[in-house]
């Protein structure tokens, strides 16, 4: 069957019956813009003007109110309840789990118990050096007389808090039966390497990624299993989770302390919920607020994997009580299949790996721009290159090019389709020249949604040269342009033996393959291309917290009664992905820290 051949300008799209907008609204999403347009305030309200004051009663009361229901929120709720606080959780969506429920469920935990059991040491100072260098590369100073390796005081304190509390959080959650874990391994059964395992400062380059451990015999796992275990632990501790409750405002007393929240329900009611000690936000990022993405994020962005209810509510709410914002230009990035990012409200999946040893990524000039075997977060940075002369993002859309060898060996691993499977996003050509023409024709279909990206006239000839150059590197086993394959991460995660069962007995790596991440692209077609854009797993900017997970104001003083963890706050790692699980690791850790400290707070008068 021909793929995507119908480029007829006379084709008239049918009138579709399904309105995604209605479903988004029903999901609790898509409200930010409309609410603001209608004058509804996301922010803060003095107690005297609140619903609780008007009706002389709160609708619900707890010691601690937790907003959200992902990893950070559930960890905070379970731990606070375990310590003896009465907790109530409010979730904006109709279902629990947030983006954690879509995730791989891995969490990056330095010096974790599984490492220690395996005899892997993870000294504190070396770990801090690694984390600071990766997070704040431009400031890193190993000889900093202040002992912070060049980081700003609060940034360094958060990294220290991460190291000091991550493993205790994991151990405590396991001890109380709330969340079990195991050490993640690569395809060749080694503890997984960090994403910059080759930094000389990284003295514990393997084993920090752990994953949620399902019960014996279970087939499910990952993020959904993490939510299942944590929600079960919350239920056992009598923590109610009210779904369909969008927190719109915090309620503050005369002293400026946060003493509760007001939430809107799906049927239009407002409920006032008191948090006698504190309110902890774990309410997710701002991926789906297009204005925030446009104005805060760097470069062109296509979609995001966060659940559609992640609309940056905490930015507006905490901003109203004077919170300091941080890392607003940051995100945990991932590459996405362009067509899918354009067609779904929440990008279904990111491109975790560029699989295949004959795969390359080229820009609209037909030139490689990145080591294709690096991790998703770092790889995506290549999209944000501004050309000062042309006045354009030269890498806004990249093209994953591969040949039949990769199609055969790794077909069926997303997004490379298995044999006999048609993928509307896949572009094919019998020659590289034909492939180039078809890529450009495809881009023409999307000009209204991509800023008009088209192939440069030099693309086809440059692609020939790029392939020839790559093939020479593959034969030599060395990639002097991008050092592909020089690092354990390149060789052990995105590179693996053929995953297609039909080729499981194929000889791989080939005897003439000195570098297992590269093999010469065939001189004969067919050739394949997938258009790839830069997107997010989640953004990771928001209110800044201190090492106690308290949200701070612009004077760096804690805002009494207000805590945050997860992707709704300014990320303690900035935008670095220290290793696999660098979204959930800090989320669990700072959710844990927030619970410990919120539990110790005194009851606040209203």
């Amino acid at each position: 069957m021909p793929q995507n051949e119908d480029l007829s300008p006379t084709k008239v799209a049918p009138s579709f019956r399904v309105s995604r907008r209605n479903f988004l609204r029903a999901a609790g999403a898509g409200a930010a813009g409309t609410a603001l347009a209608a004058g509804t305030q996301l922010g803060a309200v003095p107690f005297g003007a609140s619903r609780a004051a008007a009706q002389a009663a709160w609708d619900q009361e707890a010691d601690i109110v937790v907003v959200g229901s992902g990893a950070a929120a559930f960890t905070a709720a379970v731990m606070a309840a375990e310590l003896g606080s009465k907790v109530i959780m409010l979730e904006k969506a109709e279902t629990i789990g947030g983006t954690t429920g879509k995730s791989g469920g891995g969490y990056w935990i330095p010096n974790n118990p599984h490492m220690r059991e395996a005899g892997l040491t993870d000294p504190r100072e070396d770990a801090l050096r690694y984390m600071v260098k990766y997070s704040y590369r431009q400031y890193y100073n190993p000889d900093d007389p202040e002992g912070r390796f060049g980081a700003f005081p609060n940034d360094f304190a958060l990294i220290e808090a991460m190291y000091d509390n991550a493993s205790p959080a994991v151990e405590k959650l396991a001890e109380i039966g709330a969340l079990q874990s195991f050490m993640s391994l690569t395809w060749d059964k080694k503890p997984t390497p960090d994403y910059m395992e080759h930094y000389p400062e990284n003295k514990a380059p393997r084993g920090r990624l752990i994953s949620v451990k399902p019960p014996e015999g279970a087939t499910g796992g990952a993020g959904p299993e993490m939510i299942r275990q944590l929600s079960e632990a919350a239920e056992k501790r009598q923590v109610p989770v009210l779904t369909g409750h969008r927190v719109e405002r915090v309620v503050v007393n005369d002293a400026g302390a946060v003493v509760g929240v007001e939430a809107a329900t799906a049927d239009g009611a407002t409920v006032a919920v008191r948090g006698r000690k504190a309110v902890i936000f774990g309410s997710g990022d701002f991926t789906h607020d297009k204005w925030m993405v446009l104005h805060y994020q760097r470069g062109p962005m296509f979609g995001g994997c966060a659940v559609p209810t992640n609309e940056g509510d905490f930015v507006r709410i905490a901003g109203a009580v004077g919170a300091k914002m941080g890392n607003m230009t940051g995100a945990f990035h991932g590459q996405v299949v362009l067509e899918q990012a354009l067609e779904f409200s929440s990008t279904p999946s990111d491109i975790f790996f560029i699989t295949g040893d004959t795969s390359i990524l080229v820009n609209r000039f037909g030139v490689r721009v990145v080591n294709e075997k690096r991790n998703y977060n770092d790889r995506t940075q290549a999209h944000f290159n501004w050309d000062a002369t042309r006045g354009e993002w030269t890498n806004e859309v990249l093209f994953w090019i591969y040949d039949q060898r990769t199609a055969d060996f790794w077909g069926g691993g997303y997004p490379i389709p298995a044999a006999g499977v048609e993928a509307p996003y896949l572009i094919t050509g019998q020659t590289l020249a034909e492939l180039s023409d078809k890529i450009d024709a495809r881009l023409a279909e999307y000009t209204g949604r991509t800023g008009g990206v088209r192939l440069d006239s030099s693309f086809a000839s440059n692609l020939d040269a790029t392939v020839a150059r790559f093939n020479a590197f593959a034969r030599d086993g060395k990639d002097p342009d991008f050092l592909r394959g020089d690092f354990a991460y390149d060789r052990e995660w995105p590179t693996s033996p053929p995953s297609n069962p039909d080729f499981k007995d194929a000889e791989w790596p080939s005897p003439d393959q000195p570098n297992i991440t590269m093999y010469p692209i065939r001189s004969e077609g067919p050739y394949y291309a997938i258009a790839v854009g830069g997107g997010t797993l989640t953004t990771n900017g928001g209110p800044v917290i201190n090492p106690k997970a308290q949200v701070v104001n612009t004077q760096d003083e804690p805002i009494a009664g207000l805590y945050g963890a997860g992707t709704c706050i300014a990320s303690p790692s900035a935008s670095a992905y220290w290793g696999g699980g660098s979204t959930l690791g800090p989320a669990v850790t700072f959710g844990y820290i927030a619970a410990l400290n919120a539990h110790e707070e005194s009851v606040k008068e209203v």
């Binding site: 069957m1 995507n4 119908d6 480029l7 799209a13 049918p14 579709f16 019956r17 399904v18 309105s19 995604r20 209605n22 479903f23 988004l24 029903a26 999901a27 999403a29 969506a93 109709e94 279902t95 789990g97 429920g101 879509k102 995730s103 791989g104 469920g105 399902p214 279970a218 087939t219 499910g220 796992g221 990952a222 993020g223 959904p224 369909g244 799906a266 049927d267 659940v307 559609p308 209810t309 067509e339 899918q340 354009l342 067609e343 779904f344 409200s345 929440s346 279904p348 999946s349 975790f352 997303y414 389709p417 006999g420 499977v421 048609e422 993928a423 509307p424 996003y425 495809r442 279909e445």
Partner: protein, 218 residues
């Protein structure tokens, strides 16, 4: 360009001409090939088109499965991801129609299992003119907090509901409510209960084939 972004397998009939086109929608944590054997068993003269949910699901070790939408139970979906998938399937059906060969039936039958059954029923309910009928195994019309979310207009669309006597989902009441909803709007509904229907074994195949043959002979 196709309207849908879903990947799919398109299997022509073993014997021509095609008597029917079956769009086979897999269940939660599944893949596009899951229903192909069952769909193939409906006759050598059926064309089988099997799309795959776009959302990858991580299982114990690897991303090896796909799911149409979030939410705890198939019949109680998370609305946003459900809406995305329903919109994609509607577009996919248009693509299937446009790709139909000369002399081949353009309107497809929907065969769905679990989440796929829920989506098949939902599409048939809101756009009955796009399909010949629905075979829904272990699925019912979805329920949302807002009951008006699905603008159901189904008229005389034929529907086969297959429930699993050995499983609690969907419950008898849910299948019953689905049947009544379609009947109220002129649908012709048959409900069958089979032990271990979730295994998609020979009994299910026989029930589907018998029902489909009865409709095609008309």
């Amino acid at each position: 360009m196709p309207y849908s972004a879903l990947v799919y397998r398109d299997l022509p009939p073993e014997t021509s001409p095609a008597r029917a086109t079956i769009v086979a929608l897999h269940g939660a944590t599944g893949g596009l090939d899951d229903l192909v054997p069952l769909a193939r068993s409906l006759g050598s003269d059926v064309r089988v088109v099997a799309p795959e949910a776009a959302r990858g699901v991580y299982t114990v070790r690897e991303m090896v499965a796909h799911t149409w939408y979030g939410g705890g139970r198939a019949g109680r979906p998370e609305p946003a991801s459900f809406g995305d998938s329903l919109a994609q399937i509607e577009r996919f059906v248009h693509d299937v129609r446009e790709r139909a060969a000369e002399g081949e039936p353009a309107l497809p039958w929907l065969l769905g299992y679990d989440q796929g059954a829920v989506l098949a029923l939902a599409l048939a309910a809101i756009a009955p003119d796009l399909v010949c009928g629905v075979m829904a195994v272990c699925g019912s019309l979805p329920t949302f907090s807002d009951p008006g979310l699905l603008e159901i207009v189904a008229s005389d669309v034929p529907v086969l509901l297959v429930g699993d006597r050995s499983d609690t989902a969907p419950a008898e009441a849910e299948l019953g409510a689905t049947a009544e909803r379609f009947k109220d709007l002129g649908g012709r509904v048959t409900t069958t209960w089979i032990d271990d229907a979730r295994q998609l074994g020979p009994e299910v195949a026989t029930a589907l084939r018998t029902w489909l043959d009865g409709r095609l002979d008309h």
